[in-house]
Amino acid sequence: MVIAIGFEGSANKLGIGIVKDGVVLSNPRHTYITPPGQGFLPKDTAKHHREHALDILQQALEEANVKPEQIDVVCYTKGPGMGAPLVSTALVARTVAQLWNKPIVAVNHCIDIEMGRLITGAQNPTVLYVSGGNTQVIAYSERCYRIFGETIDIAVGNCLDRFARVLKLSNDPSPGYNIEQLAKRGSKFLEMPYAVKGMDVSFSGLLSYIEEKAPSLIASNEYTPEDLCFSLQETVFAMLIEITERAMAHCNSEEVLIVGGVGCEYRFIPLLVISTSANGVLMFYCLLYIRFCIDNGAMIAQAGWEMYRSGAVTPLEETSCTQRYRTDEVEVTWRN
C-alpha cells in the first residue's frame, strides 16, 4: 500500500491531491481567475499559489482523512510550466517532505497521461494532450512517451484563451468553457487558416488572423461572436484530429485518450468519433472526468506513485523546477 500526495502549480491552478493505490482520496484545487480580457501573469499566479497552498494542503489531508505520517511519497510538478508558480508550489512540497521525513519524486506534468490510463482503463492509447500550455500527440514505445506531433508555436488552449480575451469573455470557470458555450449557438462558418505541417500543427497564424478580423466582422454584423467561436473551435479541433488520426494509423492503435484542459471541451467527442470510425477504429476512450482533465494534484500524485513504485526518488537538492521539460525526456520505468 502506497499513499502519494501530489502538488501541482504549473499554470493558474493550484491543486493538491492524495492517491492511495489508484484510488483518489482527495483532490482539492483553487484556480486563479483573472478579469475578462486578461491572461494570468507569472508573478500574480505565483502569489495566488502562495496564498492558497497551505489551505488547500490542509483540505487535502482532511478530506482524505490521512495523517502526514501515513504518506509514503511527496510528488510535485517539476515542469513544464511557468517558472514562478512552479517554484512556489515546489517550496511547500519540499518543506513538508523534510518535515515529515518523506522521499520526493519530481514529476513531468505531461505524465498526467497516467491519470488518464488509470481512469479509463486504456492499456496502450494514442494520447492527444491538449491544454493551455501543451499540445502534443503522444504514443508509448520502449520506455518513452514519444511525441509524434506537436504545436510548433502556441498551445491550442492558449489560442482559444486569447481569442476569449478578444471577445472579453469571462475566465470563470475557464475561457475555453465559455468559448464552447458560444460555439454551440454559432452556425455560420468562417474559413480560416488551417495549418497542419506534417505531424505538427500551428495556431499562432490562425490566432493573429481571427484577432485582426473579429472586431470588424462583428461590428458589420457579418458574423456573430457565436459564429466565430464555432468556426475557431471547428478549425482547431479538425487540425488536431487530423494528426491524432495519423498517429493512430502509424501505431496501429485502436484507443485514443484525450488529456489536458482542452479535453473537457465536448465538441471534441463527436468529431473524434466520426473521424475514427471512418478509419475502422472501434475503441474510443475519452477523459470526460473534468476534475481530472483540468490540472489537479491527484494526477501528479498518480504519476509520482507509478514512478516511486518503480524505484524513482529525487534527492532534495535536485528538486528544482524547469519551464521546459519535454514529455520524451522521462524514462518510463513503470511500464513494460
Partner: protein, 86 residues
C-alpha cells in the same frame, strides 16, 4: 559604475536548528536566473540562516531579495502550520 558589485547579507533566525535546516533545504534548491547576474549563497549555522547576495545593480539586488522574502514567508508559514508542535 558598472564594474562595482553591490552586496547584502541577511541573517534569519529560526526557533530551532532543525527548522533552519529545513528552510535552507527548501530555499537553496532554486538557482538565481543566469541572466540576472545575481549571486546568492546560503548557509546555516545552528538556528540561523545566512544569505549573501551580490549583484551588479541595485535594482537586481532588490528583485532578488524581494523574491527571497516571498519564498521565505511561504516556507516559514508551512513550518508553522504543518510542523511538529513544539
Amino acid at each position: 559604475m558598472s564594474a562595482s558589485i553591490i552586496t547584502a547579507n541577511l541573517e534569519i533566525p529560526f526557533p530551532t536548528d532543525r527548522e533552519a535546516e529545513i528552510a535552507h533545504g527548501s530555499l537553496s534548491v532554486d538557482k538565481e536566473p543566469k541572466r540576472g547576474g545575481v549571486k546568492k549563497t546560503m548557509t546555516v549555522h545552528n538556528n540561523i540562516m545566512h544569505i549573501h547576495f551580490a549583484a551588479p545593480e541595485a535594482r537586481l539586488l532588490r528583485v532578488s531579495i524581494n523574491s527571497f522574502f516571498d519564498h521565505l514567508k511561504l516556507v516559514v508559514e508551512t513550518l508553522e502550520r504543518f510542523g511538529q508542535p513544539r
